[in-house]
């Protein structure tokens, strides 16, 4: 049997993981007798015959050219995942592939365009997690607000704040409610990346996640990445970023002055303004020591059925990143690239690229493609 010259096994791994499929499931889908064959393709021991590659391409919804494109060697270490431990292996793998594709996209766009310069505050140089104190985290949040001249009121748009200051932000479904967000400042890149999960659909949650990831970027950039494998240290980092996000969202003086009474009715009335979850406000009050130790707010939150879903959660529209969307629109509107060229250059499909760049569904479908789809 003749294989396909130039086939890249690592691309098959990516495409399979992006769809959340096991080797066995993929083998069944394309009519192969054994998953071993898939493994051999992936490890470069064999390459698939053209008709098998066509089947793979069709089932995984990636163009044929994708599987012939070399994978760029990238810094794979040091990704900060929120709620990583609770997510399934498949969900994590899917997220990692999504992140690789996000970097492919930004590399491509940066071949034509300049992005806003990275403009992040220096909150201190921490090379170990254990040395970071609560006061330093509170100071870091305050420093960041001062650096960006945000005052001490609610911040209107967290995603925009990050993008304005050079962070690449994408938002999309990760296929797991247990994986809220992740971020990385790769050593081989000059800017940080934040990926916000949209699976929970909550706008206030997403704002919190964005600032949690900012916490990693500012506080943990210099920490030895090997500690990410230690669960205790990782948990500590997560706690530090929770604290950072809350300190940033709810500055102590202004928030405590605005809260006329630490009751659920008051938190409820403040939620639309501060755009912070009621439960997060309760935690912040606990951190600031403005609740009696025996308060019953958690019991009452449970009684009201607000643990999983709070009032207003369906009413606020999530903040949508805009830089990547605008970049693609700019290439097309200025005649630098056509929609078709972009998809061909990136060896991708519109259903994969549109969510990654936060484009409206169908935006990248050109007329011929639309006709073909209609006929299907």
């Amino acid at each position: 049997m003749i294989g396909t010259p130039g086939f890249v096994g690592a691309r098959l791994v990516q495409a399979r993981k992006a769809r959340g499929l096991s080797s066995i499931a993929l083998a069944e889908m394309i009519g192969l007798k054994s998953a071993v064959t898939i493994s051999q393709y992936e490890h470069g021991k064999h390459s698939p015959p053209p008709e098998v590659l066509d089947a793979i391409s069709q089932k995984l919804n990636r163009p044929r050219s994708f599987f012939l494109r070399p994978v760029r060697k990238r810094d794979q270490d040091g990704r900060w995942y929120r709620s990583f431990s609770a997510a399934t292996k498949a969900a994590r793998e899917r997220a990692e592939v999504r992140f690789d594709w996000l970097r492919d996209l930004t590399d491509y766009l940066r071949g034509f365009l300049d992005f806003p310069r990275v403009n992040l505050p220096n909150v201190g140089h921490f090379d170990r997690v254990e040395i970071i104190t609560t006061d330093q985290i509170e100071d870091a949040a305050k420093t960041a607000r001062e650096f960006w001249m945000l005052g001490d009121g609610p911040v209107a748009d967290v995603a925009l704040l990050l993008e304005n200051n050079g962070v690449i932000v994408s938002r999309g479904e990760l296929g797991s409610e247990n994986l809220d967000a992740f971020s990385q400042w790769p050593e081989d890149d000059d800017r940080p990346y934040v990926f916000l999960g949209a699976d929970k659909g909550s706008a206030v949650r997403s704002r919190f996640d964005g600032l949690h990831e900012l916490g990693h970027i500012l506080l943990h950039r210099h920490v030895d990445r090997r500690v990410l494998r230690k669960s205790d240290t990782y948990r500590q980092m997560e706690q530090q970023c929770h604290r950072f996000a809350l300190a940033f969202l709810l500055p102590p003086e202004r928030f405590s002055k605005d809260l006329w009474s630490p009751t659920l009715n008051s938190f409820l009335a403040l939620k639309p303004h501060w755009k912070v979850a009621i439960q997060a406000m309760v935690i912040r009050c606990e951190q600031l020591g403005i609740l009696p130790e025996d308060h019953k707010l958690w019991i009452n939150i449970g009684r009201r059925g607000w643990r999983k879903k709070e009032p207003y959660d369906d009413e606020f529209r999530p903040e949508m990143p805009r830089l990547l969307r605008r970049s693609i629109e700019m290439l097309i509107e200025n005649g630098i690239k056509t929609k078709e060229q972009i998809l061909v250059d990136l060896a991708t499909t519109s259903p994969d690229l549109e969510p990654l760049a936060c484009l409206p569904p169908g935006y990248l479908e050109w007329s011929d493609q639309k006709i073909l789809r209609f006929r299907n």
Partner: protein
Amino acid sequence: MICADVPEQFWRALAARQDAVYQEAKDRAFETDSWTKPEAETVAPIIRRALFENELRKAAEVAGLRSFDMDHVGKNYGYVLIRAGNLVITAHHVGGPKHFVRPCESRKQNASINRWLDTLILDGILDLPSLDDAETINAYVLHGIEIEERAEQIFETPFLQVAVPDAELSRYQKNYAIGELIGAYTMARSGSAPSGVPITLIPDKAKPSINLDKIRRQATKESERSS
């Protein structure tokens, strides 16, 4: 009119105390050896009513409003009535956010002053302070617990609303959740947001810019590849 005549503080004080009042009523009724559960269930709503009426009076005092201790027709119960400009405010416990108050003679008499409203299209009573012909309005503070069953669990959510009944006590002309009402105060103060703390707007600078040098380099690369 509500925003113009009633200091925001009055509503905030009530909202702040509701949970505590309900809890206290429950504790006083049930955490005692003086009686058993059936008696506790009888007295709990009475204690809750007394405590809430007292809060109403205290909130009025804090907000600088006048309160009056009134008797129902028949003098079987007393109740507190608050005067705030053209508003007459009374408090009522109801079984749910959409429930209507139980009609009685005193309530009918109080509500009858709303007859002039029936002729108006109430498109936003919050925005009517400057009407020269504005007369007195009877407004209700409605409070209670909403009981919901979700996923085979019972959830109890206290609610607090401000409603204006029609003169016939047949429907509410307007009904606002307390959060909505408090938000209206600061909306009325132009330039500030519901809680009074200004929101920090973020200027939109998330814009890429075209780099002609990069584009030329890309074009050169592509032409080299194709040749």
